[in-house]
């Protein structure tokens, strides 16, 4: 009688086989030709559409004048850069004298009035304010300023009264500190003071000229010993962001702010002894022509009228958004692959083998999610890292000024976009596990991510309130990770997804997508455990 020897596998029995599970899923992924090709297609779509957008977004200007009716066409000019490298508006009327060394300037502001155009332009160069409406813009500003030079974009510190935001101290375009609240009037004047000590400028305000409160302190890099200092007035244009479905555009026009100053006090060396007026102005800013601006001096009283703004520029053509237009095409491809990674198992019956080999079903889902996320992240990272420099190079060749983005922000955009693709793929995997049907799962994920973005970002499809809501709660919130320009509280602008501004902070928006993916994974796990395969 023969004795049967039971078969023993040569392989060691190990408690934890998760590495093998990962390897199995990776083998499945890399051996299905369609998925590998799909991932390459996703990467090529991202790069290709970015290049297409860059090459076909020409920007040109031609300065047509009566003397020169056919001028050469030039690339669009970039706005001046501020001390931090950001694009700025720097247009105002400057009434100045040089201040040598340390010293201070004190003024009393007794009024701030204004005019604005509602029809997009001004009457004529000779009489630009004809037909304009009286009224002060909320961020109209007038006060005292110490600036490194009269070049646009140079460092400065200023104390000012504003149309409806009280007294402010602002410096180097991006910094803004609130002082006294309330509007200025003859009955309730505002006293402002700037004191220079070395590179440090301190701003003070007062209601009576006797009791002073410190508002803020600014350190200006490269402040020369002789700095142009004095009074200024400026106002951003009037604008109404229409919230309509037809337009979604801004309407409005340039404005003028006029402020009355008296009790001008100067401490330190002011060798010029008299005021010089000058409009600081550039073609990239919305401002009235020089003939509308100016100053008058009568006794101790100075009246200054200015137009334009001293603030970070928010009217940016978003080069990153243009270069990354292909993200959506890549996203759709990645979602299709993510869904198929699980629904193909159901279609072929492979899922039964998979689950027999690894009865703990949660680990199967985890292994699939990890493999899919890793592959997608890698493909996305390479594609985005190639696309942004390529797209920006082509945009520059097409005549577009490229919005300066610092290295940290750029890293966030590149890594964040790759992560966005990876998490979207995992969301697709989870929804595919829940629904088991490809068509429904792909549609649910694409419609959930792309359609809200499409509706929110393309101006004129949805009203503003609905736009903001859509990019807060839907997975489309994650596109905040691609926002390249910060939003400034001290600048009124059309901050909407259509112009590249999202209501949530970049990583907060990304977290919304992650929350959706996590919730979907939990539900998918529950159903995977509960249902027969």
């Amino acid at each position: 009688m023969s004795v049967m020897t039971p078969y023993h596998s040569e392989m060691h029995v190990r408690r934890d086989g998760f590495a093998q599970l990962l390897r199995a899923e990776w083998t499945k992924f890399r051996t299905v030709r369609g998925w590998v090709i799909g991932m390459l297609v996703a990467a090529f779509l991202i790069v290709g559409l970015g290049a297409l957008t860059g090459a076909n977004s020409e920007c040109s200007v031609a300065d047509v004048t009566p003397q020169n009716p056919n001028p050469p066409i030039q690339a669009c000019p970039a706005p001046p850069s501020g001390p931090g490298g950001e694009w700025v508006s720097d247009s105002f009327y400057f009434v100045r004298q040089p201040l040598v060394g340390d010293g201070s300037i004190t003024v009393r502001v007794t009024s701030l009035t204004g005019l604005y155009s509602t029809h997009g332009g001004f009457a004529s160069d000779q009489n630009p304010t004809a037909g304009m409406t009286p009224g002060v813009q909320p961020w109209a500003k007038a006060g005292i300023i110490i600036k490194t030079s009269t070049h646009r974009g140079s460092a400065y510190a200023a104390m000012m009264v504003t149309g409806s935001h009280g007294v402010r101290m602002q410096w180097d375009f991006t910094h803004d500190v609130a002082g006294m609240a309330g509007q200025v009037s003859a009955a309730s004047p505002r006293w402002l003071r700037l004191t220079r000590f070395g590179d440090t400028i301190t701003g003070y305000d007062s209601a009576d000229g006797a009791h002073w409160t410190k508002v803020g302190t600014a350190t200006l890099a490269g402040l020369p010993s002789t700095a142009p200092s004095g009074l200024f007035a400026a106002t951003p244009g009037y604008s109404v962001n229409s919230t309509s479905l037809g337009g979604g555009s801004s309407t409005g026009g340039p404005a003028l702010a006029t402020a009355a100053f008296d009790r001008v006090g100067r401490v330190g060396r002011w060798p010029a002894g008299r005021w010089t007026g000058q409009e600081i102005q550039g073609t990239t800013d919305i401002a009235l022509p020089a003939s509308a601006q100016g100053f008058t001096q009568a006794g101790g009283r100075l009246t200054v009228s200015g137009s334009g703004d001293i603030a970070p520029s928010t009217d940016n053509v978003d080069s990153v958004k243009q270069a990354l237009a292909g993200t959506f095409a890549g996203l759709i491809a990645v979602v299709v692959i993510g869904v198929m990674f699980i629904t193909a198992e159901y279609r072929r019956g492979m899922i039964r083998t998979t689950l027999a080999a690894s009865p703990r079903r949660g680990r199967v889902l985890a292994a699939k999610a990890i493999v899919l996320a890793a592959v997608t992240f890698t493909a996305g990272l390479v594609a985005v890292a190639v696309t942004i420099p390529l797209g920006e190079r082509l945009l520059r060749q097409s005549g577009n000024p490229i919005y300066p983005v610092d290295a940290l922000t750029m890293t966030r955009i590149v890594v964040g976009t790759a992560a966005l693709l990876a998490v979207s793929a995992v969301l697709a995997l989870a929804v595919g596990t829940m629904l088991r049907r490809s068509a429904g799962a792909v549609t649910a994920v694409i419609v959930g991510i792309v359609l809200p973005y499409l509706l929110a970002r393309i101006p004129g499809v949805l009203p503003a309130g609905a736009e903001q809501w859509l990019v807060r709660v839907t997975p489309a919130a994650a596109f905040a990770i691609q926002q390249s320009a910060p939003q400034y509280a001290q600048v009124t602008a059309n901050y909407s997804p259509g112009t590249g501004y999202f209501p949530l902070a970049p990583w907060a928006g990304f977290a919304v997508l992650c929350a959706w993916a996590a919730a979907a994974l939990v539900l998918a796990l529950f159903l995977l455990r509960r249902r027969d395969a």
Binding site: S57, E58, S242, S244, G246, V336, T343, A441
Partner: protein, 258 residues
């Protein structure tokens, strides 16, 4: 041919998902339309809003569900192997595709009509409360108005053409995930690209070529002069896409092994 259509109708009717999906298409189209209508206001100074287009916003979402139904009608047969039986029963393959187109087209027309009618009714009820009154220069939204009727009827046709387009793509691509991905990519990518490509010529051509953007011109009732195409030309662009997809699907079905 009647038998083939009847067979396709039986297949569509007896799938449990179809009814729910079509119901969802009606409910979501009307709900999104009502939400969009409820979120707009037209101040006394007037606004540039197009009331018909606002109340038909839900079609943007409804088209995705219609596309699922159409893709499943073809891809479902491939995933189960049913297609071999279908083609054995009807060896003239173009007839199968034509019958599917007839059945899906008819189902979409009926669904779309209900969805659009519900959206227009909701719009008519809600718009008056949000400033779209005679005092602000708006007539009440009603199908009695020629251009509103065109927008509504055109939206129904739009949904039917989306179904045919999806059917053609699915016949060409066969796999349901890839087919729906291609359909949604072609619908959504054109408007995204035309929003970032700034050269005026390219921008205009992308809008004219886009099946979704051009097709939805049929919903416009105000500012028609600012559109790069007339509403019916726009719907014609979508019809051309649908015809192209159906032709490609028919040819591939004819010359490829199932």
């Amino acid at each position: 041919m009647t038998n083939v259509v009847h067979a396709e109708w039986t297949k569509l009717r007896t799938l449990p998902g179809t009814g729910w999906l079509l119901l969802a298409a009606v409910a979501l189209t009307a709900a999104v339309g009502a939400l969009a209508t409820n979120s707009v206001t037209c101040p006394a100074g007037g606004c540039q809003l197009d009331p018909a287009k606002v109340s038909l916003t839900g079609v943007d979402l409804g088209q995705a569900i219609v596309a699922i139904v159409a893709v499943t009608v073809v891809s479902g047969e491939y995933s189960t192997g049913m297609i071999r039986l279908t083609l054995a029963a009807t060896p003239r393959r173009w007839r199968v595709l034509a019958a599917k187109a007839a059945v899906v087209g008819a189902a979409t027309l009926a669904t779309g009509a209900v969805a659009v009618l519900a959206s227009v009714l909701a719009g008519g009820l809600l718009l008056g409360r949000h400033g779209f009154t005679a005092a602000h220069g708006y007539e009440a939204l009603s199908l009695g108005n020629g251009s509103v009727l065109r927008a509504a009827a055109g939206s129904v046709l739009y949904l039917a053409l989306i179904a045919l387009f999806s059917l053609g793509v699915a016949a060409a691509v066969r796999d349901s995930a890839v087919a729906i991905g291609v359909v949604l990519a072609l619908l959504f990518l054109f408007p995204i690209l035309s929003s970032v490509i700034t050269s005026p010529g390219w921008h205009r051509h992308l809008e004219q070529l886009s099946p979704m953007t051009a097709g939805l011109y049929i919903q416009a009732t105000t500012n028609l002069r600012s559109l790069p195409l007339t509403p019916w030309q726009g719907l014609g662009v979508l019809a051309a896409w649908a015809a192209g997809a159906m032709l490609a699907g028919a040819l591939l079905l004819r010359f490829r092994d199932a």
